[in-house]
């Protein structure tokens, strides 16, 4: 388990949440739950980036690239705000498409939608 030592507690938590989200995408047949699971995965990634290198004396997030220890690396924060915005956009588009699909198919289930695909007009 050598490679776990490279990660802090927050990062390990984030990776666990990431795989919980993946379980949701694989195992749930409800389309809304798929969208929710993708949201969970995105939160996990944001947690991972923000929690990187927590516990070290130097500034987050990169150990050795910054000269001063008193400032935070601004890149992760800026990037994660972008990632949150993209996540919101994706969720909005996916839910809009889902509502359209629901009006046409009348189901929230992937399997039922697949079986109806060739029949519904």
């Amino acid at each position: 388990m050598e490679f776990i030592k490279n990660y802090s507690l927050g990062e390990i938590a984030a990776i666990i949440i990431f795989f919980i989200g993946i379980y949701g995408v694989i195992a749930r047949r409800n389309i809304v739950k798929t969208v929710i699971s993708i949201g969970i995965i995105e939160s996990a990634i944001i947690l991972f980036f923000v929690a990187s290198n927590e516990g070290y004396t130097k500034a987050p997030i990169v150990k050795d690239t910054l000269e001063s220890g008193n400032i935070a690396d601004p890149i992760p924060q800026a990037l994660m705000i972008t990632a949150i915005v993209i996540g919101v956009g994706i969720t909005a588009v996916a839910l809009t498409m889902f509502i359209n699909l629901y009006h046409k198919y009348g189901t929230t289930n992937w399997e039922k939608a697949k079986n109806l695909r060739d029949k519904v007009q």
């Binding site: 490679f3 490279n6 990431f18 989200g21 993946i22 995408v25 694989i26 195992a27 749930r28 047949r29 389309i31 798929t34 969208v35 993708i38 995965i41 995105e42 996990a44 990634i45 991972f48 980036f49 990187s52 290198n53 997030i61 990169v62 050795d64 690239t65 890149i75 992760p76 990037l79 972008t82 990632a83 993209i86 956009g89 994706i90 588009v93 996916a94 498409m97 889902f98 359209n100 699909l101 046409k104 198919y105 992937w110 399997e111 939608a113 697949k114 695909r117 060739d118 519904v120 007009q121």
Partner: protein, 530 residues
Amino acid sequence: MSYLLSVLILLPIIAGIFIYLVPKKFSLYLCIFAQIFEVAISVFCLTKVQQAGMVFNIGGWQPPVGISLYADSFSMSFVMLASFLFFMFVIYNSSRHYVDRMFYMLYLTLQGLIAGIFLLDDLFSIFVLVEVSTIIVSLLIMYKRDSRSMYDGLIYLLINVFSMTFFLLGIVVLYKIVGTFSIRLITEITPQLTDKSTLYFPYALIITSVSLKAALMPLFSWLPKAHGTPSAPSVVSAVLSGLYVKGGVYLFFRITSALSVIDTSTFFLACGIITAVVGFMLAISQTDIKLILSYSTVSQLGIVMLALNLGDEGAVYGGIYHMLSHALFKSALFLCAGIIIEKYETRNVNKIRGVFKTMPVVSIACICAILAVTGAPLFNGAISKYLISHSANSTLTEGVLILINFGTQIYFVKFASIFWGTKKDNIKRTSINRQIVLLVLGVLCLIGGLFGTQIIEMLYSVDVYVELKEYLEKSLIYLVTLSISIALFRLGVTDNKFFDKIRTFDASFNTIALSLPLFFTVLLSYLMFF
């Protein structure tokens, strides 16, 4: 001059927004105007990057902090081809009823995003652009709003978003190790790392998601749904299959060469072979002409993947040239299929007959494209396939390439059966702009074959040789396999029960989603234990 790279990305997007605001009667002219500018700028940049790569730092900040655009002859040749094909598609599509201002806006934005994916040097910006283009592509797939494309578009969106979360986690972990998102800096930093095993986890994450974009073997189930969905406009299918999917392969190429300390070429060589074989098996089994073409894309991408991982420079150039050629002939084929479906009102390959007598010009362009994709001598597919099989040092790989090409011939013989038969009455003439576009694409396939070596030498400043004896040998093999495949088709091999069974196989969303973590696990364990 380097600011022109940002113009290449921004010009189509700004033009698209502008077209959305002005009345509809101007939109076509504005769009053509923007396209001519885009093509001119990309040709100019292509001539500039021959000596040295162009770098443009956005806002004047250097890479560890800022975002930069980087163009070399590889990326510029793709951007040039993309802008040229988008220009052709605008002319082709100008008189369609569904084309409104919204369509132009989405279409031009997609063009800018594709240019950005090829030019950006920053992994996070690539992530942003790929996510936005995923949304736009799924909107374009369901542009005609019928129920089947709703399902296909939603599957496309969610699978691609799901795979891009792997990409995002991968680049975040990579940032923690190397401290930058810039691909060029990563190339410099990674050889200095003492422990390269820390790179395995991010590498596996990034490459898994990029492999889904490049439609590798277990991860390609979304591609036929998106590219072959019946109601999507044929221009959208052509953009997706001709250009957009190349973005994934290009990213694969860039990222694997940046992280070249990790060698996975054997793994992806096998993946490429399996993808190509499975792709042509599925293509043979289909009866829907759009689906035949979509599975053909999967198969050809397998060949490109094989070429990029052969570990030989000649094969890499062959693979790159095959990507460029594939963009030309596959978009021509999708446009022809679009016209044929519209005139005959069916997609079943067994019900369409007599296309040659009904639409001779369209058929000539289509036949040129078919000859090119099967690698017939004198066409561009022959040059790229020659370069790939020339560098394949083992007889096994050469045999596999002949087998793949044989499969390609079988399903295109099946596809070409639509040309025979008597003329169908009451068919309106194809409009002149569409005929011109198709003929240009068909002739370009021929020019790309006749002057293939000169084009490669001009674009990438490398020397490639085509030995006449070997070329004739390969042409002979082509003719022999072609006659065998015609004989097999006549004997009705393509209609047996085995192919019926694989045709009806249709993966659900959860199965496609499951293939992604499975692929990731296999790749990670391959890295850890081999």
